[in-house]
């Protein structure tokens, strides 16, 4: 009996502590000025495969709000941040959007994988609540245009178009081999890239798939080499699997250059590949040398530590919450429709994403920051680190 009582008391204590710890937004909001709080909701993956970037974006948003609330909040109002774990599941993500909307969120940030983003976007549209993602790339999120969805990242079709253009300038008669992992992202994006590359006039010579968790992918690397591919596109969502291919590719002395999308901005990729990733070209959406980017990254590293080092995609989360709060201020109302309209009317808004001087303009026919492939930033790995922007040839 005593044990049971102690267990019960312990459980209540633990639950209380857990609840206190899980409400960072509420705690932060109290340090800001008076007024009714602005409630920002977010869903993302707290512990599964997408968590390494979800938690990065969550920390970036919290750091931004910490700084803002300490200075008195947004237009004198405290900002409360509510984060919900979507467990990297589209079904759960949709239910979290419903929950956040019911709890009074003004705007919802979709900070999980592209697959959860699609489900969240559909739910947001159904509930007529403005929603958007700082980093999701899947084209269908904003093409065709979704009334309540706003995007700050570069879409897959633009990434593919940028790669096609760059590859054509880099190599005569390019023959592309694709290597993908078995994640949902890997399967979805590789199919879309194959179509977009073919439409762009590139010859596709092989598709290889990495056995998940395998410590040896030499077979795939040798087959890719034998296919005659003179450039290899790597796509997917599992960094260890993709990094393993890159090591095998270099290990068997395949000189064909490797290219990828901005998944490869993740710091773990450089750590796992070391010098094997040298020369790996990838499309990014953040220009590392921009002073605004350097400033944001310094703040994030100072507040949250070295795990932000080289993780430039966190700049998206920082800039997205800045934009949303600006739009809420411009809306002059807490009404979802008014906030949506203010987002849509954003014009020539200076943003730290994209090449220097880039400005964000949404319109009734466009809810994307990036509209041209040439706005993409091409970068190359050097000494196991993502290097500076490479000029378009």
């Amino acid at each position: 009996m005593t044990t049971r009582r102690r267990f019960l008391a312990g459980s209540i204590g633990y639950a209380t502590l857990s609840m206190a710890a899980s409400l960072p937004g509420a705690a932060r909001a109290q340090t800001a000025g008076g007024g009714k709080p602005i409630i920002i909701g977010a869903h993302g993956d707290r512990a599964k495969q997408a968590s390494y970037y979800s938690m990065l974006y969550k920390d970036a948003v919290e750091t931004f709000l910490d700084e803002l609330n300490k200075k008195g909040g947004a237009n004198g109002r405290p900002v409360q941040f509510m984060f919900e774990d979507d467990e990297n599941s589209p079904v759960v993500a949709a239910s979290r959007v419903e929950k956040l909307a019911a709890e009074g969120a003004f705007y919802i940030l979709s900070m999980g994988s592209s697959a959860t983003g699609v489900a969240a976007q559909a739910k947001g549209e159904e509930l007529k609540i403005p929603i958007g993602s700082p980093t999701n790339t899947i084209t269908a999120l904003s093409q065709p245009l979704r009334h309540y969805y706003f995007r700050m990242s570069i879409r897959d079709d633009l990434i593919a178009a940028a790669l096609v253009e760059y590859v054509k300038k880099m190599i005569n008669n390019p023959r592309v081999g694709i290597v993908r992992d078995t994640t949902e992202t890997g399967l979805l994006t590789s199919d879309s890239y194959i179509k977009l590359f073919k439409d762009g006039g590139l010859e596709m010579v092989s598709v290889e798939q990495i056995t998940p968790g395998s410590s040896d992918v030499t077979a795939q690397a040798l087959k890719t080499k034998e296919s005659g591919a003179n450039i290899v596109l790597i796509v997917g969502g599992s960094i260890p699997d993709l990094a393993n291919y890159v090591k095998a590719h270099k290990g068997i002395r395949n000189d064909a250059p490797m290219i990828g999308n901005y998944l490869f901005t993740t710091a773990a990729f450089g750590r796992l590949t070391g010098s094997a990733s040298d020369g790996f070209l990838f499309v990014d959406s953040v220009y590392p040398e921009r002073p605004e980017v350097t400033e944001i990254m310094s703040k994030l590293i100072a507040a949250k530590g070295d795990r932000f080092q080289n993780n430039l995609s966190a700049v998206h989360a920082w800039e997205y919450i800045r934009l949303v709060l600006d739009a809420i201020g411009r809306a002059g109302s807490d009404d979802h429709e008014a906030i949506r309209n203010a987002m849509e009317k954003t014009t020539d808004w200076p943003v730290a994403i994209g090449p220097p001087g880039m400005k964000l303009s949404y319109s009734p026919t466009n809810h994307d920051l990036f509209t041209q492939p040439q706005q993409a930033v091409i970068r190359a790995y050097k000494d196991g680190q993502p290097g500076p922007a490479v000029p378009w040839k």
Binding site: Y52, I210, T211, A219, N244, I252, R271
Partner: protein, 292 residues
């Protein structure tokens, strides 16, 4: 299909198979002595690798290795002490035990993610980063050669332990007839502690063999855990040789499928092989006959 490509498939398949075989052996030593399928074995592999990454910056390589392996053995022993023994004392149903172990597996996996972060890190291999190249098509990293050697030594040691020592015979007798074993003086608690300790030790070694060729992070125990379990079933639960034969068979089939058929189907081959073996030889490739 050249000699070079066949040799590379053999080398790669053997390497992948050795990892699977050792993971299966860590399941086997616990199951053979206690009848318990410890689903936490995959997480023991992961914990060993993650602790290696955490400890290495602070101490010499051998010390970090010994400490991480020791901590993993402790985790395995705690599983026995805090979960299995308590549930058995309450005569819990088998399903309750399986559910508890699955729950513990999730707690260890995501708890590690919460404590040490969700990103993956490189664990330097004990054998270094060199590669032996034979011709233009056979590439053998030093770490892979170490995997071959450790696998051979581990299986030989487990064989000797189970056939030639009193402890090994106690482990086998306890699994076959626990009451009879008690009557002839076998201490069942001690047997179980030894089995979990040995299972934890083998899993921890797998962490140091596998992670340097893949990655160290909170999710890296999933694949060796699942494949280890499949291999134990494919090989048969009657002897450790089943784990070795099952592991190498699966490794070779996976790699050969990727090389000569299509890599799009190599992952599915594990389950096709499992279904085929269960259908044709439910007792596994090395079944009960070899035990007699």
């Amino acid at each position: 299909m050249t000699f070079g490509s066949i040799a590379q498939v053999a080398a790669s398949g053997l390497h992948v198979g050795c990892i699977y075989a050792l993971a299966a052996l860590s399941f086997y030593v616990i199951h053979s002595a206690t009848g318990i399928l410890n689903f936490v074995q995959g997480e023991c592999i992961m914990v060993s690798a993650v602790l290696g990454v955490v400890l290495l910056p602070w101490m010499p390589y051998p010390v970090a290795m010994v400490l991480s392996i020791g901590a993993t053995i402790v985790l395995s022993l705690l599983t026995e002490r805090l979960v299995i023994r308590r549930l058995e004392a309450r005569q819990a149903d088998l399903f309750i035990m399986i559910l508890s172990l699955l729950g513990l597996m999730i707690v260890v996996r995501y708890g590690t993610g919460a404590l040490f972060g969700q990103e993956e890190y490189m664990l330097p291999g004990p054998a270094g980063a060199g590669v032996i190249e034979i011709g233009n098509s056979v590439f053998l990293p030093y770490q892979v050669i170490l995997i071959y050697v450790v696998t051979a030594l581990t299986f030989a040691a487990v064989h000797v332990l189970s056939k030639r020592t009193w402890l090994g015979r106690s482990l086998r007798v306890a699994a076959i007839d626990p009451i009879g074993a008690t009557l002839i003086g076998v201490n069942l608690v001690r047997v179980r502690v030894v089995a979990f300790g040995l299972g934890g030790f083998i899993a921890a070694m797998v962490g140091w063999l596998y992670a340097p060729l893949y990655a160290a992070g909170y999710m890296v125990g999933v694949v060796p855990g699942v494949k280890g379990f499949i291999v134990m079933v494919i090989g048969g639960m009657a002897s450790p040789i089943g784990s070795l034969v099952g592991g190498i068979t699966l490794g070779l089939v996976e790699v050969a499928t990727a090389r000569y058929f299509s890599s799009l189907y190599s992952d599915a081959t594990a389950f096709v092989v499992l279904m085929g073996v269960l259908f044709l030889r439910p007792e596994g490739l090395i079944g009960a006959k070899s035990r007699a």
